[in-house]
């Protein structure tokens, strides 16, 4: 038996699905914009200059220590992870055979899938307790750097892969050794994308909390040394401040959020701009 499907019904379904899908997409964008707007508006309402100019704990004072702390933690974590990630990327790209290559890739992929709090737990057990650093800049940065390694390894590998093959071939043809090709060609011409990836990674690191809760501690001032001296950071202020019953700490939380989102936005934009330039050039 053969019956035609009414074209009317099909068009109706088509129009409905299209409209519903677009409406939901618009709604989602609106919801996400709402989050941003809410944060910035709330921060603007509660802002006081002393928040940016003084240090403080999460119930009074300012965010200066937390701002510096966030940069210190992310910066040091970037340095540590960059050191390791670049070598992983180089090894995969140039030296490793199939077996070592897939081991490294599997490692990177696995590290990317480990939950943040598990890193936090590990960092607490190993860096803070067993290695005896105590809550400190070093413990926090090391824990954060573990999370960062997959991001950097991936983006560096992509960056090196983006370098035109002819350049690499030409360098080899001129008699360059493998390391020379890597350092003078791949890393040099891949630099914009490597930096782009690093900026992206830092932006993610700046927004992390779980890794730092039990490794960096909290400090109403600035850390005095890499170990045995705790560090304050912005995401902690957001968490601790918003849970306080009084308005001022909540204001600190809002302003800290706005600062975080602002910083991340800027880093992301620069990162994408660098990436866009490279892609256009290639």
């Amino acid at each position: 038996m053969v019956r035609a499907r009414g074209m009317g019904m099909r068009r109706l379904r088509d129009a409905l699905v299209g409209a519903a899908g677009l409406a939901i997409s618009a709604l989602l964008l609106a919801a996400l914009l709402l989050v941003l707007a809410y944060v910035f508006y709330g921060a603007a309402l509660r802002f006081e200059p002393e928040m940016l100019l003084t240090m403080g704990n999460t119930t009074s004072g300012g965010l200066l220590n937390a701002i510096v702390g966030t940069w210190l933690l992310s910066g040091l974590a970037l340095a540590i992870s960059a050191l390791l990630a670049i070598f992983v990327a180089i090894d995969i790209a140039q030296y490793a055979g199939a077996r070592v290559g897939s081991l490294l890739r599997a490692t990177v992929d696995t590290m990317a899938a480990i939950p943040a709090m598990v890193y936090g737990l590990f960092g607490f057990l190993v860096f803070v307790i067993y290695l005896g650093m105590g809550y400190s800049l070093l413990a926090g940065s090391l824990t954060l750097s573990l999370m960062m390694i997959p991001y950097l390894a991936r983006s560096t590998e992509t960056a090196m892969g983006n370098v035109p093959k002819e350049l690499v071939a030409a360098a080899y043809a001129l008699g360059a050794s493998r390391w020379q090709v890597i350092s003078r060609v791949l890393l040099r011409f891949g630099r914009p994308l490597i930096i782009s990836g690093a900026l992206l990674t830092v932006s993610i690191g700046a927004g992390e909390t779980a890794q730092l809760l039990y490794t960096a501690g909290w400090n109403p001032g600035l850390p005095t040394w890499f170990t045995h001296s705790q560090v304050g950071y912005l995401t902690y202020v957001v968490w601790a401040g918003i849970n306080q019953p009084t308005p001022y700490p909540q204001g600190l939380a809002f302003v800290a959020s706005a600062l975080l989102v602002g910083m991340i936005l800027v880093l992301l934009l620069i990162s994408k701009w660098l990436e866009g330039r490279e892609v256009r050039r290639a």
Binding site: V35, T110, Y119, I204, T209, N243, I264
Partner: protein, 320 residues
Amino acid sequence: MRSDGLLIRIASMIPVFFLVSIFIFLLYESIPSIFYNGWNFFTSYRWNPGITYQEPVPGPFGFRASPGASFGALLFLFGTAATSALALAIVVPVTLITTIALAMHTPRPMSRAVGASMQLFAAIPSVVYGLWGIVFLEPLLLKYVFPWTEATLGFIPWFRGPATSGSGLVASSLVLALMVLPITSAIVLDSFRSLQSRFQAPILSLGATRTEAGIAILGFARRQVVGAVFLGLGRALGETMAVLMTCGGAINVMPVDIYSPINTMAAALAALLDSAFIDASGMTLSALAELGLFLMIISLASSAAGRALAGRIVLRGEAW
């Protein structure tokens, strides 16, 4: 030259060493709890560090804990499962329908703009989502949504209430959904686009509507779609701060309805690690390590499944 290769190899093996040591440390630290708590860990919801100011006493297999200690993580397992399930229940249909709408019903530049903004939202810190959840979402739920669900769905016991707080399953699942959505949509839309160029024309030339074509192409991408769901699940499982701030922090009491406070593994880890310090026997720490180990294993399993099916993993910021 072998020497530079050797140095590189040594350096690149350090992360491998770290990964292995993560496993080993967590396993080592959880052994006391694994033996002391046994299956109780997975079947009981009572999380009891015992009387921690007293001397630790030996328990099963000779491991010592504070008197009366018994650690059951069922509450956290349940909360994780429930929030992830609810979040995915929202994310999957939304992803599918928005993919069809964006890929088939909107002009390219617009859908690319939407994609770019999705990438931005994936970069918003978890605590900021949590803040929004606490200050905006929870009051909204408590004042408008829950009274409505109590009134209209109250005949079902789970919805009867009364709700006393905005935090709990609904708030944390919603926040989770918002955070997982960029990831799954990125992968699904990406997979769709790679098939679209080849199949859109022949499908449409047979007389299909745009939606019918979209559904057909999604069908071709079935594997990647399932993979995207697993990858989204992996993200949901590990999400800590936003959930911590919106779940209500339940301990030792299982939820009775959808308005009850709950807890997840990651959030519980963050909240309870504090209490490990006062437990001289170290059993609390060990129990938390076991929890962390279990969380890590299921997260890795989910991500591995996702990678196998979707052919890739997802790092935040590289979605589009």
